[in-house]
């Protein structure tokens, strides 16, 4: 429940109106006012551990109103007699209230010296600064003991409470308090907007032998990473970078370049149809053009998917990623299965041999033999069929104008399924951009991300195609004569079917995994 300060006059009186007034006005810290508020009493305890004793310096900084409460005539000044009585009494009180325990055993403190000053505050009123030097008697060695400290003085009073600890002739380990005062012993209160006013009421530390360099230090826990779950550190670092800079042109260009890099890196993460692409390109007469087609298809689908999902997320909270992603995965899996089945049926239907008669290209009048020709065809009207213009080679993987060629539509479909599940990091880049009020920039970055992805995928596809071609060219070197042909025939016969089955299996796996998390 967001309750803005409930400012209201109470029945017939205006007590709580003024209540809010007192707090805010006295806390607003205009020039001259006590920075923490005119009615606070602030405590600082500086512990110095020596080899055989413990010294504590307690400083109490009292703001204007409590000063007047203690010294009703404070506005005109506090006379020496009153001040002396005050410091003697208050330091004696501090000495009896402060609890110094070594291994649980309380050690008494006595007052070594006391001092009080009245620094001026707001509206001509003084504040009070009391310093009490307390000390334990010389005793057995403190080394090896656990020291605990607390000062339960005026617990109801509001104010800054700090404790510091250092060793003088000993070392401190596992100290829950720092060695140096964050407020320069109540003279300069930090104006950190990102931390609560200090309210440390107790301290503990281990005393070890050493030269007196304070080794202790508090170990605050790592900040909760609740908001970056599911996203890798790279993307987290990237979005931090985007958020914390002003959007200048050079920085914008840098961000675009980094987005391309991020996209390329994520292209190598699991998903995005690389296995499918491999299966397709290796199992078929995959060409560079096919690789490019698949890569571009993945990227366009992916970018559109990210933009649509981003739009849906900002418009409605119903489209939470946890709910959308499994469905996308399921659809993707089902599409894969469908594509795989189509390919398999096509592969099983046609005779898996290089018979020209079964060739589908009506306008190709040639007959294809396995005996050497290296010409390329005129594919001008036939680019849709996308045999590509891969060099025909012979041998282990002969060129086949097998009818089970992939049309561009199939390639696009393959790419589509690969890009169907938007990468979380791209989504985060877009949503981060929208949340920071830079929607258009977020879109630009997503497109750049997609370009990076395309480049990487095309590179992968290219590598696959080249690799396959290299294998084709040199494979016969590795196979013994006789068996080579049989093996080659076997492979030619069954490889398309096998890769289609692989596609189906991948589709089943993706769908099953997605379905399990719906």
């Amino acid at each position: 429940m967001t309750s803005v300060v409930v400012l209201r006059a109470v029945r017939g009186t205006f007590a709580s109106v003024v209540g809010a007034l007192v707090l805010s006005a006295l806390g607003a810290a205009p020039a001259g006012a006590h920075p923490l508020g005119n009615f606070t009493v602030n405590f600082s305890s500086s512990i110095r551990v020596e080899p055989a004793a413990v010294a504590v310096s307690v400083v109490v900084d009292t703001a204007e109103i409590p000063t007047v409460q203690m010294f009703p005539s404070a506005a005109t000044g506090v006379d020496d007699a009153t001040a002396t009585t005050y410091r003697a009494e208050r330091c004696a009180e501090a000495a009896s209230a402060a609890e110094v325990r070594l291994d649980g055993v309380r050690v008494p403190l006595s007052v070594r010296s006391s001092e009080v000053t009245f620094p001026p505050g707001a509206a001509g009123l003084p504040t009070t600064r009391l310093t009490c030097s307390l000390r334990t008697p010389q005793g057995p060695s403190t080394v090896g003991a656990v020291l605990t400290y607390r000062l339960p003085l005026q617990a109801e009073r509001l104010g800054w409470r700090e404790i510091t600890a250092g060793g003088d002739g000993v070392e401190l380990a596992n100290s829950t308090v720092p060695a140096s005062s964050p407020s320069a012993v109540l003279t300069a209160y930090p104006e950190d907007l990102l931390s609560a006013p200090l309210d440390v009421r107790d301290a503990s530390m281990m005393i070890q032998s050493g030269t007196g360099v304070v080794a202790g230090g508090s170990a605050p826990g790592a900040p909760a990473d609740s908001l970056t779950r599911g996203v890798d550190r790279l993307t987290g670092a990237y979005t931090n970078l985007i958020a914390s800079h002003k959007l200048t042109v050079p920085f914008g260009l840098l961000a675009v370049v980094l987005a391309i890099g991020l996209g390329a890196m994520h292209a190598f993460a699991p998903g995005h149809g690389k296995a499918l692409m491999a299966a397709t390109l290796v199992g078929r007469e995959g060409t560079l053009r096919q690789a490019v087609t698949i890569g571009l298809s993945v990227t366009v689908t992916h970018s559109l998917g990210v933009l649509l999902l981003g739009l849906a997320l900002t418009v409605t909270s119903l489209a939470a990623p946890e709910r959308v992603y499994p469905w996308l995965g399921l659809v993707s899996g089902v599409l894969l299965i469908a594509i795989g089945i189509t390919l398999l049926r096509a592969a099983m239907r046609r005779p898996p041999v290089f018979l020209a008669a079964a060739h589908e290209h009506a306008h190709h009048g040639h007959a294809h033999h396995t005996s050497g020709h290296g010409h390329s065809y005129d594919h001008t009207d036939d680019v849709e069929r996308a045999h590509g213009s891969a060099p025909h080679s012979h041998g282990f993987f002969s060129h086949t104008h097998q009818p089970a060629q992939l049309g561009t539509r199939s390639l696009l479909a393959v790419g589509f399924t690969g890009g169907l599940v938007p990468s979380p990091s791209a989504l985060l880049v877009l949503l981060g951009g929208i949340a920071l009020g830079r929607t258009w920039f977020g879109v630009v970055l997503v497109v750049a991300y997609g370009v990076g992805m395309a480049a990487a995928l095309v590179a992968v596809g290219l590598a696959l195609v080249r690799g396959r071609n290299w294998l084709e060219r040199h494979a016969d070197r590795f196979t013994p004569k006789g068996r080579g042909t049989a093996a080659a025939r076997f492979a030619r016969r069954w490889l398309p079917a096998a890769t289609s089955s692989l596609v189906i299996m991948i589709g089943l796996g993706v769908a099953a995994r997605a379905a399990s998390s719906i």
Binding site: M1, S3, V4, V5, V6, L7, R8, G12, F14, A15, V17, V18, L21, V22, L23, S24, A25, L26, G27, A28, G32, L36, G37, N38, F39, T40, E64, I65, P66, Q69, P72, A122, A123, R157, L158, E191, L193, L194, P223, A224, S226, R229, G230, N240, S244, E322, Y325, P424, A435, G437, W494, A498, S501, M505, I506, G509, V510, A512, R513, A514
Partner: protein
Amino acid sequence: MTIAVLGLGVALFSISGVLASPRDDLASPPALEATAPDNSTALLQQRIERLPGDYAAWSALGTAYLDEAAATANPAYYSKAEGAFERSLEIRPAENAAAVTGQAALAASRHDFRSALKLARVSQRFNAYSAANQAVLVDALVELGHYRRAEVELQRMVDLKPSVPASTRVSYYRELHGDIDGAREALQQADAFASRTNDKAFIDRYLGELAFSTGDLTSALEHYDRGLAAAPRNAALLAARAKAQMAAGKLAEGLDDYRTSTAMVPEPTVIADYAAALRAANRTTEAAQQDALTRTTYTLLRSSGSNVDLELSSFEAASGNGTAAVAAARREHRRRVSVHTEDALGWALHVAGEDEAALKHARAAERLSNTNAVFAYHRGMVEHSLGMKTAARQSLQRALRLNPHFSLAGSAEARRTLQRLNR
């Protein structure tokens, strides 16, 4: 046969490969940690450390600091809240509704209600659906005396988000208009909403004060005790209980509660009540000290730029300084005309001896309702000074009927005056 084997192998390979891969975190959200409401400030601070440009988080942090200030009465949180809202506006100066609402709330707490209204309206233009902004808007309108407009905005607030702050404001609005039963009902509804300890303590205080204002001391003390059981360090509850205890004749307990409350939070009206209580217990030196402290506190508040004229006029009137009281009351009356400023000006004029001028204002104070015992008492005393015996008798009787304990000094004075009138 070979096909089957090959197919099976491929199937096993791909399925295991797919299923054994690490799960995508976004597809399986991790278990939500149970975060206590207190963690929200810490979480926001951490978020801003990671994303310093997140202006919405800065505004939310400012609001969280205001909540902390209301809960802990620690004034340092007010300056932190102010800093957080300024930072948010630095990052995004245009259409930053939440930050503007925060600034409006801070202006209201400094009693600069005109600025609070202006800022709240600006924020309303950017975002008409913010219950938090409606809260500030309603407060500003009520304090400025625009009661009809306040009702419209209050209805809108309730429609947007029924909640504890909405219900407490409904209760106050009804009480201002004389519907005491409706006010009580609204608070009881709020009690049903309230889940946090601070909210329940809040509501207990208001229920107790409502009971007190109708003279029911027993229920009032019950509510205060219940509230303090849940929130023992609540200075406002202690002050309210002190008042009820003094009225019930428990002087020692009352003075003790006043002492604790003013030690925690030296609110000037409470200190003034403490002074009155000390006077009633015949501890006059201490009473004088507390009066001096009250004056010091008002001086500090004014020097820090806050508007304390309404409260100051009441204090000066109680101390018998008519001229100073009238000056302060006129200043405030020029700024805003609400039933409270009318009552303050009327009473100040009466203390200064200008009863003809006072009567108009004393009557105007009762234009919304005639169920406020203090207003009735003030009017009765003015009428008595003007020799309007019947009217005075009616007003004073009404005051004592509504709440026989409305003020330590005032109740006694009302009874004495009635006796004189009846002679």
